[in-house]
């Protein structure tokens, strides 16, 4: 992966080049691609992808049962991105994402029960039932949310990055957003400012080919989103967002670049969402064939196959993990379902961090 390239190289491109020159069998090559990671980590990655998948399948059920309201944006199909990216960084590196955030929350270590409780709008949710699916957060884990205004959080990450610099924390910021978000002004302002200040930010663009129903191909003048980075002279690389290990590698390199003080880095993860944009999506804008084609690349069975092929786990172990995860998610649903809704008496809490004193007009207006 080239640094500060004017023509960003892609991880795929590199893999191809390796392929050309080497005589190694595909299987040998793939084992090499896994080699940076120990078996435990690989199994953890598998477990995490599965956790996201099962969690969301149950969430979809909860939505169908009207236990979950509002918008529910599933990450199914894209699990490898969150898993790979977060493994590429330190656990305390800062994380801020758009609304498609279940995967990031779970991998970052939020309790699945509390995440499900948030979706259920319960007092035990990660943000007390105030945010729902789009606004998961846990500041103690340096996970700064889940944000629902497209692009709105992108420049916030730059400020977080500048603070790491000033305070010399050695941490970087992972700033996650979709392909559709690259059109909005705030993306531009953020990319530009991050470069000017050399902020340690990894811009991770999840290119799942669609905004809601808007096709990237028709809504972008550049075919590859890494090309967006060229207007800022920002180094950039693509990764295979259906492969947690490839994503891990690219994001790790991007993160180390930023951590070394060399400034921001743009990563484009090539991925696909198997479900609609949100549960309300009639999905008229893409063909069944296209969806089928991508489903064939499902990151979970693909990764499972690699794990067994390389003897990292056998089917039994994978089944066991499967069972454990399912149990965990069922428990999470139960926890959510049994949790109480937020106490109406708390409705004005945390409007301000400082006590308002005698003025406090807000409180006097409760008329529930």
């Amino acid at each position: 992966m080239a640094k500060a390239t004017s023509r960003p190289s892609t991880s795929r491109g590199r893999a191809q080049r390796t392929g050309e020159k080497a005589a190694a069998s595909p299987r040998r090559r793939d084992r090499a691609a896994l080699r940076g990671l120990d078996d435990e980590t690989l199994l953890l990655m598998y477990r995490q992808m599965l956790l996201i998948r099962r969690f969301e399948e149950h969430a979809a059920e909860g939505y169908a049962q009207a236990k979950i309201g509002g918008f529910l944006h599933l990450y199914i199909g894209e699990e490898a991105v969150a898993v790979g990216a977060l493994h590429g960084l330190r656990n305390d590196d800062h994380l801020i994402t758009h609304y498609r955030d279940h995967g990031y929350a779970l991998v970052r270590g939020c309790d699945p029960g509390q995440v499900m409780a948030e979706l259920y709008g319960r007092a035990t949710g990660v943000v007390g039932g105030r945010g729902g699916s789009m606004h998961l957060a846990d500041a103690s884990k340096h996970f700064w949310g889940g944000h629902a205004i497209v692009g709105g959080h992108i420049p916030v990450a730059v400020g977080l990055g500048v603070a790491q610099q000033r305070k010399d924390t050695g941490l970087v910021v992972l700033d996650v957003f979709g392909d559709g978000a690259t059109a909005i002004g705030m993306f531009h302002e953020a990319m530009n400012m991050a470069m000017i200040w050399r902020a340690p930010v990894v811009f991770l663009c999840e290119n799942n080919l669609y905004g809601m129903g808007a096709q990237l191909a028709e809504q972008s003048p550049v075919k590859q989103l890494v090309d967006r980075a060229r207007g800022y002279n920002m180094p950039a690389a693509q990764c295979d967002g259906m492969d947690p290990v490839d994503t891990y590698r690219v994001v790790r390199e991007a993160g180390e670049h930023a951590r070394r003080g060399e400034g921001p880095f743009f990563v484009e993860a090539l991925t696909y969402r198997f479900r609609g944009h949100s549960m309300a999506d009639p999905e008229m804008y893409r063909t069944r064939d296209e969806v089928r084609e991508w489903r064939a690349k499902d990151p979970i069975p693909a990764f499972a196959a690699r794990l067994t092929e390389h003897g990292i786990a056998d089917d039994k172990r994978l089944k066991q993990i499967d069972g454990e995860v399912e149990e965990q998610v069922v428990a999470a649903v139960r926890f959510a379902d049994e949790s109480p809704p937020p106490d109406p008496a708390t409705i004005f809490d945390h409007l301000y961090a400082a006590p308002l004193g005698p003025a406090a007009p807000e409180r006097s207006e409760i008329r529930p």
């Binding site: 709008g121 606004h135 629902a148 909005i184 409705i347 409007l351």
Partner: protein, 330 residues
């Protein structure tokens, strides 16, 4: 002759008829083609009129409104859709500094005949997606602001807005799209901008409402009528220019007013109304102008909390009852 259709269908018809009538009318916005429009208002129009007249845009609210403004300067009649009014904040500079001002600041050389269609509403969408800013829009000289409550007004006002030479902020309501109502048949149903309607007569209290709150106000009036309290309900329909005379005339014989909205109590459109009514009706008021509004807090996601905060018919009846408990002045 009328026909019973939904608010959504009424809007769809207005767009379709105006596009048929005038080739310069074009739509632009996010997800208004393949996705079908996030509230399905534009569904199918791109197939009928082609992608040159139903333009899918990238996610760029300022750019969308700016493009509409520029197109209007080039002789077109663009109808820009901002997916929800929450995202209008990103286009506010374009709306306030360009759309609203060009005609005045360039001394009338050109006007900006655009419509910005957008939508307010609720549904556990949480803090950033449950706001409404009509009080802000209505404070901007140069803008017209329309918020219809019924299918008939939705259709008639949207058609008028498209033909209007000034920039019109047209705010729909997500909870009204499926409501049905009688709409005059034919493609010449126009409702003038700037005229309120007295939709129920009564002598005890004036309730001023618009958009979804009109329905809540009517439900409240019905309930109160059973108790012997007769409310006069005014549907503003247009917030700017405000038909203040209709309100004043009503308050002149009811002596009491409740103004209803969904934006925040502090600084919402209800404050504008209350300020105006107390100013013009001071001598006839027997009680302060009461406001039904959103409490001053971001809307939380949890269903139970959301329900506590969203103003309803119940909020209106409570406000009316508490007004009536205040003794007359004379």
């Amino acid at each position: 002759m009328t026909v019973e259709i939904s608010y959504r269908e009424a809007l769809h018809q207005a767009l379709r008829e105006e596009m048929q009538r005038d080739g310069d009318v074009v739509l632009l916005g996010e997800d208004i083609t393949g996705y079908g429009g996030s509230y399905a208002v534009t569904k199918g129009l791109h197939e009928e009129f082609g992608l040159d007249r139903v333009m899918e845009t990238p996610i760029a609210e300022a750019g969308i409104v700016a493009t509409a403004i520029g197109m209007s300067m080039g002789g077109m009649r663009p109808v820009a859709e901002l997916m929800t009014v929450n995202f209008a904040l990103l286009a506010l500079d374009q709306i306030v500094n360009n759309a609203a001002k060009f005609h005045y600041m360039f001394n009338g050389q050109w006007s900006v005949p655009i419509v910005v269609r957008t939508v307010s509403g609720f549904g556990q969408l949480a803090a950033t997606h449950s706001q409404t800013f009509e009080g802000w829009f209505a404070s901007v000289p140069g803008l017209k602001v329309v918020m219809p409550a019924t299918p008939a007004d939705a259709k008639g006002l949207l058609k008028t807005a498209i033909r209007d030479p000034d920039p019109v902020i047209f705010i729909e309501h997500s909870l009204l799209y499926s409501k049905r109502g009688a709409v005059p048949e034919g493609d010449d149903h126009l409702v003038p901008i700037g005229e309120a309607a007295v939709v129920r007569e009564g002598g005890d209290v004036t309730i001023v409402a618009y958009s979804r709150m009109l329905l809540e106000a009517l439900a409240a009036a019905e309930e109160l009528s059973a108790e012997g309290v007769e409310c006069e309900v005014v549907d503003l329909r247009t917030l700017r220019p405000l038909d203040v005379d209709t309100i004043v005339q009503s308050v002149a014989h009811t002596h009491r007013a409740v103004v209803c909205g969904e934006d925040w109590r502090t600084g919402g459109f209800g404050a504008t109304l209350a300020a105006e009514v107390q100013d013009r009706c001071f001598d006839v008021l027997d009680a302060p102008v009461a406001r039904v509004a959103m409490a001053d807090v971001p809307l939380p996601y949890a269903r139970n909390l959301e329900r506590l905060l969203i103003p309803t018919a119940h909020s209106v009846t409570e406000a009316v009852r508490s007004l009536l408990s205040i003794g007359g002045r004379s």
